[in-house]
């Protein structure tokens, strides 16, 4: 039986050949949900500011079985060379959504498995509510499963996702799972890069058990023609910490969507980020932080630097359930617009049902400060360099929130390499 045979028109037709050959109840159910809802358009509240029109312009094939190793090596070197410490870190490399063992350097202290051998869909993802998660569920081929055993410090793990597309656009839909068991610790650095036109649609299911800590930094440097739409679920236990940061730089259209759930008391969630976009880029940082237990803390600081015709989207919802007394929530979105045609759409939302909470949010938009520019120039610093210093400083105040020192340095190095010779003062 095929749940999709009824309606494969519209954007779904792009994936039709692949959706028709699905096995397993999860995939069938997801494909069925997708057939009912279709891909979201701007009438959908969650996608009001980010149109998926770009997705519908081309067909996406399954990635080819063989990929040019030279291209992969070049991309990987580009990632690892950004900062000398990176080459020494354990890494799991995916190429077009499939594990590439030849390029990986697997870690020792953690338990690894791969979706291709043992599919795990996790319990948090909601294919019936989120069409992109449904698409991932239907088409996922591979993905990383990483588990840090209780009490273990798993050190660093890099998850490198490389897209390599030739003449024909490809899509890949990796399904990752991260479990940090009780009192364990992991520093996860996800890096996304690639070349050509591809659609990267990862779903990541994260569980941080009681007393555990996950420091999670995502550095998104997708190819200029790439579309990258990632969804991430994090369940945070008692006295555990999920501390995340995303640096968004690449892609023509990118969305980093986080659903974090503070499910037990005294949990801490940070969903921080920075993006720097130019040209026609659209970058979307969307989050839903749900407090369902008392005495939890959530923090969100996102900074955007937008040039050219770039558009930044920030949607941040903090939902505090009635039971979640003594919640401490903070959310701030700030944007620096470098051109009259750049745009930021910010939608901060607090939805609070408890009566004893401390929650605040805010948003700012502005241009570079004339007084600061003049001060720098009066010290002999040429205008373009002065501008770059102020832009770097604006972003750096967000990057300073990254608690893992290696990841923090990596973020700075990636930014410096990308905007080299434009006033880096390091």
């Amino acid at each position: 039986m095929n749940a999709l045979s009824k309606d494969m028109s519209g954007p779904l037709a792009l994936f039709a050949n692949r959706l028709n050959t699905l096995a397993g109840p999860e995939r069938q159910a997801a494909a069925g949900a997708l057939a009912r809802t279709g891909l979201p358009d701007r009438k959908s509240e969650a996608w009001h500011y980010t149109a998926l029109r770009a997705l519908g312009k081309q067909d996406y094939a399954a990635p080819p079985a063989q990929v040019d190793d030279g291209a992969v090596r070049t991309l990987l070197d580009g990632v690892l060379c950004a900062h000398p410490a990176m080459a020494g870190l354990p890494r799991v490399v995916f190429v077009n959504g499939r594990h590439a063992p030849a390029f990986s350097a697997l870690p020792d202290d953690v338990d690894l498995a791969f979706f291709a051998q043992a599919p795990r869909f996790g319990l948090q993802a909601a294919p019936d509510r989120d069409p992109l998660v449904a698409l991932n569920t239907a088409l996922a081929e591979d993905g990383l499963y990483v588990r840090v055993p209780a009490g273990v410090d798993g050190g660093h793990v890099m998850l490198v996702s490389l897209g390599v597309a030739g003449a024909e656009p490809v899509s890949f839909h990796p399904r990752h799972t991260v479990v940090v068991e009780k009192e364990a610790h992991l520093r996860l650095i996800c890096v996304q890069a690639g070349q050509g036109a591809y659609f990267h649609n990862p779903v990541t299911d994260i569980v941080v058990e009681d007393g555990a800590t996950l420091e999670h930094v995502t550095v998104q440097t997708e190819a200029a023609q790439a579309i990258s739409l990632g969804t991430l679920y994090a369940h945070v236990g008692h006295q555990s910490v999920y501390d995340s940061f995303v640096l968004g730089l690449g892609g023509q259209l990118a969305r980093h969507e986080v659903h974090a759930r503070l499910g037990a008391t005294r949990g801490v969630v940070h969903v921080n980020g920075a993006q720097r976009l130019a040209g026609q880029q659209v970058g979307d940082i969307t989050s839903v932080i749900t407090h369902v237990a008392s005495d939890c803390t959530s923090r969100q600081t996102v900074r955007n630097v937008l040039d050219g015709h770039a558009r930044g989207v920030f949607q941040g919802k903090v939902l505090v359930e009635r039971i979640a007394q003594k919640t401490d929530g903070y959310q701030m979105n700030q944007a620096l617009l470098l051109s009259p045609d750049a745009e930021i759409d910010a939608k901060p939302e607090l939805e609070i049902y408890a009566d004893d909470v401390r929650c605040s949010h805010g948003a700012t938009v502005g241009a570079l400060d004339d007084d600061q520019l003049f001060y720098l120039r009066s010290r002999g610093i040429p205008e373009h360099e002065a501008r770059q210093i102020l832009i770097d400083a604006f972003l750096d105040e967000a990057i300073a929130l990254v608690t893992d020192a290696t990841a923090q340095t990596f973020c700075r190095a990636v930014l410096a390499a990308r905007f080299a010779g434009k006033g880096d003062v390091a």
């Binding site: 001060y375 120039r377 009066s378 010290r379 002999g380 040429p382 210093i389 102020l390």
Partner: protein, 256 residues
């Protein structure tokens, strides 16, 4: 014709809330090399505007007059070109730069100026050695190089940071816009010593101040009184003492 700084008939206005306000109304001022000149005058007389116009702030529109520096048309130069040519303005209210490390800022500025002057850039080690020595001479805490530029600095620390920048950038002409304001006596002496160390036959300064006190440490060659956008009176150092005792009223009445 002066070989150093020559200001003639300088007029400037600012567009404030849609209204054009004439602030400088024909400033004539000539400063020879190796001299310290002082401008005094009541609030609103145009002292700070003169300093901003000379440093190249874009908010002000020069409507008439000329200013030449080392024979170059100062008003045609970008602010960074003026700095490279040897002009330095110590801000009355130094600007805070959140997220910009003070040492990096200083090194970027020093190397930008060195580049423009055809000198080799300094590497991080050589620069830090120089900066630490200069900071120490100004009795600045060593951590002020590590902090963000002027962020969380006290008023006195900001003023010392201005003098530190001046020391490192090695200007031939410095404008000090009320660098003494808000300083206690010890800080005043340290700042004045910082300026005195730069004194040389090739270095001149224009000091804007309200107080005789600074001039006890920084002995001037000439005093100018500014009022309503013009220099109305010039004299020797004794003029500052006279103003300190008698105020401006008498002088303003004389030229009215």
């Amino acid at each position: 014709m002066s070989q150093f700084l020559e200001i003639s008939g300088l007029c400037a206005r600012i567009d404030a809330d849609g209204q054009e306000k004439q602030i400088l109304r024909g400033v004539d001022l000539s400063i020879p090399p190796g001299e310290v000149h002082v401008i005094m005058g009541p609030n609103g007389s145009g002292k700070s505007t003169l300093s901003y116009v000379l440093a190249g702030r874009e908010d002000y529109e020069v409507t008439a007059g000329t200013a030449t520096f080392h024979g170059q048309d100062l008003l045609a130069m970008e602010p960074e070109e003026r700095a490279a040519a040897g002009l330095f303005l110590a801000f009355q209210s130094p600007i805070e730069l959140p997220g910009v490390n003070n040492a990096n800022f200083l090194r970027t500025a020093v190397n930008a100026v060195r580049r423009a002057r055809g000198q080799d850039e300094l590497d991080a080690v050589a620069f830090l050695k120089m900066a630490r020595e200069a900071a120490k001479a100004l009795s600045m805490a060593p951590d002020m190089l590590k902090r963000n530029v002027n962020v969380g600095f006290s008023g006195g620390e900001k003023k010392r940071n201005e003098v530190l920048q001046m020391t490192l950038l090695q200007p031939t002409f410095a404008i000090l816009d009320e660098t003494d304001s808000g300083l206690d006596v010890d800080a005043l002496r340290i700042v004045a010593e910082g300026v005195n160390r730069l004194r040389a036959p090739t270095f001149s300064a224009l000091v804007i101040t309200h107080h005789q006190k600074l001039l006890d440490y920084l002995v001037p060659d000439r005093i100018h009184v500014m009022a309503r956008g013009r220099i109305i009176l010039s004299g020797g150092p004794e003029l500052a003492r006279q103003i300190d005792q008698e105020g401006y009223t008498k002088f303003l009445a004389e030229v009215a």
